[in-house]
Amino acid sequence: MSTSEKQSTSGIGDRLRWAREQSGLSQGQVAKLLDMHRPTVSQIEAGSRSLKAEEVSWFAELYDISSAWLLQGDDESSSSGDPRIQLAARELSKLSPEDLQTLLRLVKALRSNKE
């Protein structure tokens, strides 16, 4: 595997871990729901095992997250520049920068109504 491929896989692994945590699931629960071994889930998140295309779809469906976001990350998401979300978020004076980042990341990652 080339360096760029490794980075890409590791990026997906990080996003999968974040999406799992935001879904409220443990690695053990995911393993059971997807009929995988728990170490497999751990290896995928650590970036030490590659992902098949169908597995990306399974994770996306389980976490209700866009496949495109899982594969490409925050910058490539279709809703990343949604001005309404940015505006609504800016209007919220009480939202801390950290919370704003978490909220916007989740909104960008969510599967669309049409998926």
Partner: protein, 287 residues
Amino acid sequence: MDPWQTAKNTALRKAFETRRRLAVSREDPVNVFDVCAAIGVEVRFLDCPSLEGMYCREPRTAIVLPSTRHRPPGRVAFTCAHELGHHELGHGTRVDEYLAGGTTDQRRSPEEVAADVFAAHLLMPRQAILAAAKAYHLDIKSITPEQTFLIAGLFSVGYSALLGQLTFGLQLLPRGRFDGLKRHQPKSIRSVLYPPSAKSGLVVFHDDYPSATVDMEVGDFVLAQEAFADEPALLTSHPRHDEQTVWEAACVGQERLKLANGREVAIRVSRRGYVGAWRYRFLPEEE
């Protein structure tokens, strides 16, 4: 008619229409998270202490709420109903910030006022409040802090939300009484009802009032007038207190309990301060 009054009237009609659509009588309590699931609105809880709530229309219809690590469960439930109001009333994506009770309508947009009215009447319609008062044999005009807490629990809303609805939404409670009751803290009331519950949640079942599905967290306490017909799987028994049976939520999951009089209640237990999607909130942990 001013825009705020028009928005309120629309919201009131929409709350009753939503109940009708889900075949829920105006006399019965509803679980707001079940309502969202039935309508197809995803609900997520985030570890975001500064977030009050968000309704997101695009890219996906979703409600995002703070975890109960950061807000009391009753307040989170009311906020969820408020965000659902934005959805049902056709509003766009919006992030809400908390405004303390007593803020005048004119300081808020008609859409925000409408979402509050929707939430209050979806969760606490007049007939349901009167039915609950009848079950407790109480006169709302002279309701005590403990009784207010118990009735709020029947509707899974916070103490303040119920007081607001009794006073401003339904005009069943005089303003002077409201001011007196507002001075009491739910934590102190829980201490009176069952002292160990001061630092957790407290659910009180009433034999003669139908419960919607009751959501609780590990460590919350349950009071019931009589023992359950079968041994609960998710609750552990504590010594009786003040002529009531006492239980503590011990593990994550869902079950139906049969009360002594034969009536069934559904309970769901989650981890404390759960962060995640609502649909996985009660999924038992794998060993």
